[in-house]
C-alpha cells in the first residue's frame, strides 16, 4: 500500500482533467450516480420514509383491527388531542428532559475529568483508556440487565457495599421506588456514556498545541487557571459536538429503560421513547404512538439546528 502511494504522488495533483465530449461526460455523471444511488435509495427508505410516514400516521386512526382490515382512516387531530390530554404525556416529556440533562451532566463532567487526567503521560495510560471503552461497547440491554442485578434492593451488591460502609442504614429501593428509579436510570446511563465523552474530549485535547501550555506555565498560570483560560476555550468546538450528539442519542433512548425498569414503577421512568413504544406496540394505537414520536423528532430537530449554528460559528469564517 505504501509503495503505491509514494510512487503515485510524484504526479502533479492539480492537473486539469481533460474535458471530455458531452456524451462521455453524461456517462460519467451516470456512473457517479450508480455508485451513490444504492446508498441514497436505502437512506430514503429507512430514514426519509419513516419520517414522512410518521407524520401521516399521526393523523390516522390505527386500532388492533387495522392489521386485519388494512384500514386506517384519517381522523384529523384526534390522535394529537388524545396524546396531549393524556397526563402521562407531560410526565414522560418531563422525565425525558430530566433523564437527558442529568445523563449529559454526569457523562460530560466525568468524561472531561478523565480526558484531562489521561492527557498526562504515564505508564499504562493508553491501555487503561482503551479498556475503559468497554461499557460503551457492550450492548445496552446487557448493561441494563447487569445493573438490574447490581441495583437489586435485597441481593444487589451496591446496597451491600453501601451498608457495609455504613453510608446508608437501610437498603435503597433503587428500581422499585418511584422516587429513586429515574435517578437510578440516569446513574446507569452516565456509566454507559462516560467512555464516549472521554474519547472525543481526549481527542480534542490532543489537538491543542503543547507550546501554548508551555507559554502559560512560563507566565506563571496555575493548573486551574490554565484549564479555565486556555483548555476550555480551545476545547469549545469539541464540547459543542459532544453535548449535542450526546443530547440526540440520549433523548431517544429506549433499550436501557425498557430493560432496566420497563417505564415503571408507577410510570416514574416513562419517557417519550417508551411511551411511543407502549402506545404503538402494546396498545396497537400507532396513530398516537406516531404523535409522540413526532414530538421526539421535533425536540431533536431543535437541537440539531442549534448544532448547525454552533458548527458554523466554530468552524466557519476564518476560525
Amino acid at each position: 500500500m505504501t509503495t503505491t502511494v509514494t510512487t503515485s504522488v510524484t504526479a502533479p495533483t492539480g492537473r486539469p482533467r481533460p474535458a471530455g465530449v458531452p456524451r462521455e461526460r453524461r456517462r460519467a455523471t451516470l456512473l457517479r450516480w450508480c455508485f451513490v444511488a444504492p446508498a441514497a435509495l436505502y437512506m430514503l427508505a429507512f430514514f426519509g420514509y419513516p419520517l414522512v410516514r410518521n407524520i401521516l400516521m399521526s393523523f390516522q386512526h390505527y386500532s388492533p383491527r387495522t392489521y386485519f382490515t388494512g384500514e386506517a382512516p384519517f381522523n384529523g387531530l384526534d390522535n394529537w388531542r388524545g396524546v396531549f390530554d393524556n397526563p402521562l404525556f407531560a410526565q414522560s416529556l418531563w422525565h425525558t428532559l430530566v433523564f437527558t440533562f442529568g445523563s449529559l451532566l454526569g457523562q460530560f463532567v466525568l468524561g472531561l475529568a478523565l480526558a484531562v487526567f489521561f492527557s498526562r503521560r504515564f505508564r499504562l495510560s493508553g491501555f487503561v483508556r482503551a479498556v475503559l471503552l468497554l461499557p460503551w461497547l457492550v450492548p445496552m440491554v446487557v448493561s441494563a440487565v447487569v445493573w438490574r442485578k447490581l441495583l437489586d434492593q435485597e441481593t444487589g451488591v451496591l446496597n451491600t457495599l453501601l451498608m457495609d460502609l455504613h453510608l446508608t442504614s437501610s437498603a435503597i429501593p433503587w428500581l422499585s421506588s418511584p422516587n429513586v428509579a429515574l435517578f437510578a436510570a440516569i446513574l446507569v446511563n452516565v456509566w454507559i456514556g462516560i467512555p464516549f465523552n472521554m474519547v472525543i474530549l481526549y481527542g480534542g485535547l490532543q489537538e491543542i498545541p503543547r507550546d501554548l501550555y508551555e507559554a502559560a506555565a512560563l507566565d506563571g498560570a496555575g493548573a486551574w487557571r490554565t484549564f479555565r483560560s486556555l483548555t476550555l476555550p480551545l476545547l469549545r468546538p469539541v464540547v459543542t459536538v459532544v453535548l449535542i450528539l450526546g443530547f440526540m442519542s440520549t433523548v431517544k433512548i429506549l433499550d436501557l429503560i425498557l430493560a432496566l425498569t420497563g417505564g415503571g414503577p408507577a410510570d416514574s421512568t416513562q419517557t417519550l421513547g417508551t411511551l411511543t413504544y407502549q402506545l404503538s406496540f402494546q396498545q396497537l394505537d400507532f396513530g398516537q404512538g406516531a404523535v409522540v414520536g413526532n414530538v421526539l423528532v421535533l425536540v431533536s430537530a431543535v437541537f440539531a439546528v442549534l448544532y448547525l449554528r454552533a458548527n458554523r460559528s466554530d468552524f466557519g469564517q476564518g476560525k
Binding site: 502511494v5 503515485s8 436505502y42 429507512f46 504515564f122 442485578k149
Partner: protein, 277 residues
C-alpha cells in the same frame, strides 16, 4: 512522534497517575466484573454472592448456551448480514463522494446529522406498517435490512474520510490501462481501503449485534429472536436464575471485548471519526 513510545530521559514515570488510573478502571469496570463473577459461581442462590469466584464452574454457561444457543446463532447471522448489506452500500457511496469531486462535505454532515436525529422508535413505528405490507415482519432478511441502517451513516463518513486520501492518480492510471471505473474500484480502491473497511465492518457488526429496538418491534413471533430480545424476555420470565442470565450477558458482551482487542487503535479513531468529522 517517534520518541513518544520510548522512555525518554526526563519523562517522569508518574507511578501515582498509573495507580489512580487503575483505581478508575476498577471502579468503572466493576459492573462487568460482577457480571462475570456471578456467571462463574455455580448454583448462585439469592443470598450472598462471593467477591471472588473461588469455586468457579461452567454450569451457568452450559444452561445459558442450551437455552440461548439458537438466539446467539440468530444474532450472528443477522449481524453478519447487516455488515454485508451496509458495506455493499457504503463503500461505493463513500468512494463516489470522496473521489468524483462532488462538493459533498457539508451535505454529508447534514445527512448524517438527520440520521442521528431520527429516533429508532420512530423508524420502527413506520417500518412496522411497511414490513407488514411487504411481508418482512418476522423474517431474518427484514431484520438484516433494518439493522444495516444502524451502521450505514457511520460507515459512509468513516470510509469517505479514508478514501479522500487515496491519490486520484492511482485510479486514473488503472483507467488508462483500460479498466473501467467499477473494476478500478473493486481491484484498487477496495484493497487499499482494507483497514477502513474492517473498522466500519466491526462497528456495524457491533451495532447490529447490540440492536434491541428493531428486534423487539419487527418481530411478533419467536421465529427470529436475537440474543438481546431473548435476554429481555428471559429477565421478565425467570429472574431467579441470575447465574444463567449473567452467563448469557457475558456471552453477549464477547463481541465488544473482541472488537476492543482486535481493533483497539481503530475503536477510538472510529468513535471520533464517526461523530466529529
Amino acid at each position: 512522534m517517534p520518541t513518544r513510545a520510548l522512555p525518554v530521559p526526563g519523562t517522569p514515570r508518574r507511578a501515582g497517575s498509573t495507580v489512580a488510573a487503575l483505581a478508575v478502571l476498577v471502579v468503572l469496570l466493576f459492573p462487568l466484573y460482577w457480571m462475570l463473577n456471578i456467571a462463574l459461581q455455580p448454583g448462585e442462590s439469592l443470598a450472598a454472592t462471593r467477591w471472588l469466584p473461588t469455586t468457579a464452574g461452567w454450569d451457568n454457561f452450559q444452561r445459558a448456551l442450551s437455552s440461548q444457543g439458537g438466539s446467539l446463532a440468530t444474532s450472528l447471522v443477522v449481524a453478519l448480514g447487516a455488515v454485508v448489506v451496509c458495506l455493499a452500500l457504503a463503500a461505493p457511496a463513500a468512494y463516489a463522494l470522496a473521489q468524483f469531486g462532488l462538493r459533498s462535505g457539508r451535505a454529508i454532515v447534514f445527512a448524517t446529522l438527520i440520521t442521528q436525529m431520527v429516533p429508532g422508535i420512530v423508524i420502527a413505528n413506520a417500518l412496522y406498517s411497511a414490513y407488514v405490507e411487504l411481508g418482512l415482519v418476522n423474517s431474518t432478511l427484514g431484520l438484516i435490512l433494518a439493522d444495516a441502517s444502524l451502521g450505514l451513516p457511520f460507515s459512509i463518513v468513516l470510509l469517505r474520510a479514508f478514501m479522500v486520501s487515496i491519490p486520484r492518480e492511482v485510479v486514473e492510471a488503472a483507467l488508462v490501462d483500460g479498466a473501467n471505473r467499477f473494476t478500478a474500484f473493486v481491484r484498487i480502491v477496495l484493497p487499499m481501503s482494507r483497514n477502513a473497511l474492517i473498522t466500519a465492518g466491526l462497528f456495524t457488526f457491533l451495532f447490529a449485534w447490540s440492536d434491541f429496538m428493531f428486534a423487539l418491534t419487527l418481530n411478533t413471533t419467536d421465529d427470529v429472536k436475537p440474543i438481546t430480545l431473548s435476554m429481555y424476555e428471559y429477565i421478565g420470565a425467570h429472574v431467579s436464575d441470575w447465574g444463567a442470565v449473567m452467563a448469557t450477558a457475558v456471552v453477549s458482551a464477547v463481541p465488544a471485548a473482541i472488537l476492543l482487542v482486535l481493533a483497539q487503535k481503530y475503536v477510538a479513531a472510529g468513535i471520533t471519526g464517526g461523530s466529529v468529522k
